[in-house]
Subunit: 479 residues, 2 copies
């Protein structure tokens, strides 16, 4: 699998100098924009050089070793090029062309031909009907149509979140959103119709990939439920998954897009419970939630302390926390007394009303009191950014969360464009709404439960393997 | 009520030149920042002039007529100033000070004294514990603490959305969000503890206010359910209401904030159904939804046509529409045939997959086909902004929606900071997420149902008044 992300040489099949040629955009990205330094060959009828990549009329004409082939030709000629790849001994092929099982019987029959060739030659195939791969570590990118500006914005900084995404349109939103966030992408793979490589294979790869801390998934269907659950169970990194097709209309639309079977959504729901996968509710959660894992310790209990300068947000967040199944921490008289002694607080019961203005010193004291209290598992701070000092206080809060091993999901009550610009400028993990902050606490808690249960299952299996006892397969779900 | 928004002269009681004096910020806003041209008097112990506003030691010392008094002193001296206002013959008083019924028995007793004075003198009181009034039409603003930059950003342009907001913190988010949106505020009133003037009074005022098209409300409680429902029933303008206290924790937090009784949330839910009020689910919906009413015709049926360049969003929006109780329009073979004839479309069944690129002409043809079809009540367009032409197409779409009398809730699949900046720059009514676009269609449909039913109720009452028959009180709810 590593070769898909880190090939030494690539053939772009279908890259030519015709106007609007999509293969040419891949040659340009690899040879002229990216700093990736492998060899790129273009395959086209006229054997013409494309953006400096030497051209050949057939894959088998390329005189050097080719690690990876990217095919982006009309569907009808794809089977013959896959055969050429097999003849050339290429073991890794990405088919970006569409027009296969998502579009009728003819497409399905071509897909069967390709599968046959692949099986015979031991070749692994990604796609068809996909966008391919982006690896920010080595700048390797075979997305078609990518512009220099976008590439430089998206791929220049490397992060720790990897994605398995069944649709190209979602890749753009995720990468664009990261430009104003505190996290960055590590590797992204768009798996399309997944005739061979599927979400379970990619889960397994990312679970072993050292630079991946969090795994995000956008799925339109599940290829093999059993394989998917088993792969997910072995992953202790957080897995965030969004799936379309909650309704029959959504499932119908997804089928026409990436050709999957219309899985019953309950099967996916159950797979998430059994595999320890966090199901997210929107595309924006796919890029908004990872920072809760990369920038904060896990939430290990349900008791949340809220503090705010704006009384309204005390009530709003209390509602949201309870609706999410979390709890408002009950602060003892001793803790409330300690808070009172900081001298400036309006209301020391949770939600704590800080009043209009605090000093840095008071903020730090409040952080210490709450984070060190065994009545509190995590924080939901809603400080108003009325003074630059508040940003400094947030920076200190992030450090203190690490110190005490408890998380904070921070929301500042501003219009979203302000929140986004503060987050980008000061690189603090701000959420964009109270709803998003509460979801971050919830998914962090869910992940803590999953990790504990995955550990328990492992030890049950270990016992079973040692003949200690035989048990029914446990079901993962939240406490 | 008009005097609160359009006074000829104002006394700011508690405005002095002491450092951090909040009353002084009101004098500054009225006399130095705003273009409002009424007279402003400062009342303080030393009778000193504040930001150019002549000072007096008592309200009764002011030699001229005073239309409105704004009191922003410590709570304990508020009752005596209310008495002075009564003696001076002032009929309109805004009490911004906190420390009344929201903070214990002493506060409640002071509030009773004030209420007594007001009743005897026929004075109307707004507050206490509030931020007062902003009227963008005449630039009158008695919010304390407002900075020149903010004032100029928020109040310079006048719009058609008026708000009744029980908490100052929410006012800031709404106004800040409007700076990047296509709508603007008309009047905003923060009613605080509402010892006298309440949400029902304000509903009635805004329903008669010509420059108000949409009414937004942020509430922590309802003062008088019956009065509220009856006022709402007489309003045919859209009313969007957010209320905290869905859970007992939220209600408890709200009580400590603005002193309301903890209403059972079901009572509010029922009041919304009976009064024809759209209950929104988040603060952001309070400022995001109004553009659906100001910029689009109403949605009169449930059948929505989706079109997108990104197949993924076909499935995502189909799920959301069905979950919201709307329907995916079924396009007849004739309509699909018309769409096919535009020549470039991947999938002509709803959700329509436009494929990667379209000409302006094709966009216009698609708009006409869908908007003129009697199979379609409204549109959910998700076009990718890959070219500036797409913005021009959106501008044309807004015009065509008006022409055909059917709405579109437009979402472009981008990171939120890009969407917000496109919306601001090109002044097109873009929503920030597919969830928000679907909510906009839903609330538009809800409002159509409410209007129809309010009309029906009115005619039932008319019949009853004419002795035609006697009926049980009808309950407003969605079809």
């Amino acid at each position: 699998m590593e070769t898909f992300f880190n090939p030494g040489s690539v053939a772009v099949i279908g890259a030519s100098n015709s106007p609007f040629n999509l293969g040419a955009t891949i040659c340009r990205a690899l040879n002229e924009i990216s700093s990736w330094d492998g060899a790129v060959f273009a395959v086209n009828r006229k054997a013409e050089t494309v953006h400096g990549c030497p051209g050949y009329a057939a894959v088998t004409d390329i005189p050097e070793t080719v690690d990876l082939a990217v095919i982006i030709t009309p569907a009808r000629v794809v089977p013959q090029f896959v055969q050429q790849c097999a003849d050339k001994g290429i073991r890794h092929v990405i088919i970006e062309s569409s027009g296969f099982s998502e579009s009728g019987e003819e497409g399905r029959s071509m897909q069967r031909m390709i599968d046959e060739t692949a099986r015979k030659s031991g070749m692994r195939i990604m796609g068809p009907n996909c966008l391919g791969v982006l690896n920010t570590r080595n700048q390797f990118c075979c997305f078609y149509g990518i512009q220099a500006d976008d590439f430089n914005t998206f791929a220049q900084e490397s992060g720790n979140v990897s994605y398995i995404i069944q649709s190209g349109g979602i890749v753009v939103i995720v990468l664009e959103s990261f430009t104003t966030d505190v996290v960055r992408a590590n590797k992204i793979v768009s798996i399309g119709n997944k005739s061979d490589i599927d979400e379970a294979d990619m889960l397994e790869y990312f679970s072993r990939d050292d630079s991946t801390e969090v795994i995000g998934m956008y799925l339109e269907n599940i290829k093999d439920g059993r394989k998917f659950i088993e792969a997910a169970r072995r992953v202790t990194k957080p897995i965030l998954a969004f799936k379309v097709g909650r309704t029959s209309e959504g499932a119908r639309a997804a089928m026409s897009h990436t050709a999957g079977m219309a899985n019953n959504d309950r099967i996916f729901e159950s797979a998430c419970a059994q595999g320890g996968i966090i199901r997210v509710n929107s595309i924006s959660e796919l890029h908004a939630m990872p920072k809760m894992f990369t920038h904060m310790p896990p939430l290990r209990g349900k008791r949340i302390a809220v503090f705010t300068n704006s009384g309204a947000f005390g009530g709003i967040t209390a509602d949201l926390l309870v609706q999410a199944g979390l709890e408002m921490a009950r602060l003892s008289p001793e803790t409330q007394e300690k808070l009172s002694r900081t001298g400036q607080i309006f209301n020391v019961a949770n939600p704590i009303d800080l009043g209009p203005a605090l000093s840095m010193q008071t903020f730090l004291e409040i952080f210490d009191i709450l984070l060190s209290s065994d009545e509190v598992d995590g924080l939901l701070p809603v400080p108003s950014l009325w003074h630059p000092m508040v940003i400094d206080a947030i920076v200190e809060l992030v450090k203190k969360c690490r110190h005490y091993g408890k998380p904070a999901a921070i929301y500042t009550p501003n219009a979203v464009h302000k929140t986004v610009s503060y987050r980008q400028k000061y690189q603090v993990p701000l959420f964009e709404s109270p709803e998003e902050a509460v979801r971050a606490l919830k998914v962090s808690y869910q992940q803590s439960c999953f990790v504990a249960m995955k550990d328990a299952i492992r030890s049950v299996y270990d016992m079973e393997r040692n003949g200690e006892h035989r048990v029914a397969e446990p079901m993962l779900q939240e406490a």
